[in-house]
Amino acid sequence: MLAVTDLSARAGAFTLEGLTLALERREYFVLVGPTGSGKTTFIRCLAGLHPVSRGGIFLGGREITRRDPADRNIGFLPQDYRLFPHLNVRGNIAFGVSVRGTPRGEREERLERLAGVLRIAHLLNRDTGTLSGGEMQRVALARALIVHPEAILLDEPFSAIDPGTRVRLWFEIKEILHALDVAVVHVTHNLDEASAIADRIGVLIDGRLEQVGARDEVLLRPATERVARYLGIRNIFEGEVARANGGKMTVRCGPVDLTVQGDAPPGRRLSLSVRPQDIKVIKPGQPLREDLRDNLFEGKVVSAYFCNDFCTVTVSAGAEFEMRFPSYIYRRHDLAKGKRITIGLRQSAITIFPAASPRNGHGPPG
């Protein structure tokens, strides 16, 4: 449906480099990345609002790289929606069909249908200044969808919506867009949002697409150290393969030895990461799962803080390990600062990537 090959673009001193991506029809693709990583420049290129210096953009099999934005058939929902202030809701939604000279009958029919689907029929004669964030979002979506785009670009579409309403809208908007048969590129820096609605996730860092994959693949198995760091994983250890045997290898990371799956030659330098959710507190005498047996460490609780129903605990056990679990686990194990505990790292959850050249993602060795 929407494909990008080796796309490069320049924006001042910043460059987008060699982005390649292919979206299926009805796919909901979420592009995440830190502020200034080039997400907005990328969707501006797709919309035809920013010049492309190399590469191609294809929609439904035809090349649109140098086409005028008016002839691309790609909808665009900017951050804060930017409804036309001089038009009411009806005027905003009908703008696209009106400039294209669509006959009045068809115009009304499309407008009524979309207003029904998006449940905004009661807002049609309202002034845009009187709408709530969620209403504005729906009106902006209707404005973009009325011209029947084949793909739609959403730039931080939930940033202007109260956190309370946001979560419900994530799923509603996805359902509506899925029903309307469009491919979606949704840009956000909110990882919760991405993990809740994406079919696939792309991680853009410093103008390069570091990883593209199914939602869980990206969140559970970052392909590069940069992705791991972006995902907020602090348990990143660099080390050297000490020995490898039968599909398992021991990597010496400073004071700790980690046993991981793989078969790299001794001496090879690697980076390992493990999500804080994949480090467990081990009760003395507790029977251990196979997966946890090889990476057990004894240490001391250094800090603990709470956010919503979760607790993040840092344990010093040679290296510092950050763990995250529901708050009741904290109470169950009474993990006060200074307490000595045993922790276990799930071996299957340890991600491996080459220590050098972290820019280009490679699969794990072996």
């Binding site: 035809g48 609002l49 691309r72 665009f76 930017r82 036309f84 696209g96 400039v99 294209r100 973009a144």
Partner: protein
Amino acid sequence: MRSRQTIARSSARRGRVFTLACGSVLAVLVLFFLALVYGLLAQLRSAPSARAASSSELFFAIRLTLLTATVSSILALAVSIPASYVLSRCRFPFRDAVDALLYLPIVLSPIALGAMLLVFFSTPPGRFWEERVFRVVFEVPGIVAAQFIVVVGLAVSLVKSTFDGIDPVYENIARTLGATRFQAFTRVLLPIAKRGILAAFLLTWARAVGEFGATVTLAGATTMKTETLPVAIFLSFASADVHRACVLILIALSLSLGVLFLVRRIYARSH
């Protein structure tokens, strides 16, 4: 050691003294303006003259001023809207230099601008225009030309700042919805900029009404021919008819106050 409370009190007092000092300067300025208006009214009361108010010359001057100022500011706006669009929305070489050039009429003395126009009309292309198109020097079109050259820079700067204040994302959205550049301009940018453009027109018009230097240099100061309000004020003073001059000033003052009031209303509504 002084207590924290004492320090806070003395800092608040210093803040009040500062505000009071600035307020006093403002009050003196307002009083100064009021004194000028008082002087005008006192002069009018002390030497009433029926001749001045009913003079056909006076009505001629008012009519001529309103007409020429309206034409010149419409022309200035017609030029400044496309010019400002390009300056605000397009990147091209020497853009800053062009922008600076258009500000020249704002900073240059109007007499110098009038003289430059006068000199131009003595060159071959200027003479060609005078002979084949229509006469400008010492004629009514000369007033329009003089007012235009003085106010066009102001019109461009006001319209450009209005366009600059409107996020281009609105036009971009319009383009993704199928609008051409022209449609994005006429159906999105212009309607959003409407109030700013109206305010720009009023300010330009008011500046054109008050134009004197370039007008008197290019169009001369011929009674009942090229005598605009400011020229009439000048001529009245030159012939020692202070009363008539004061009536004219009062009219000019009312026009200016009216325009300022309207502009403030427009800006207040748009925010």
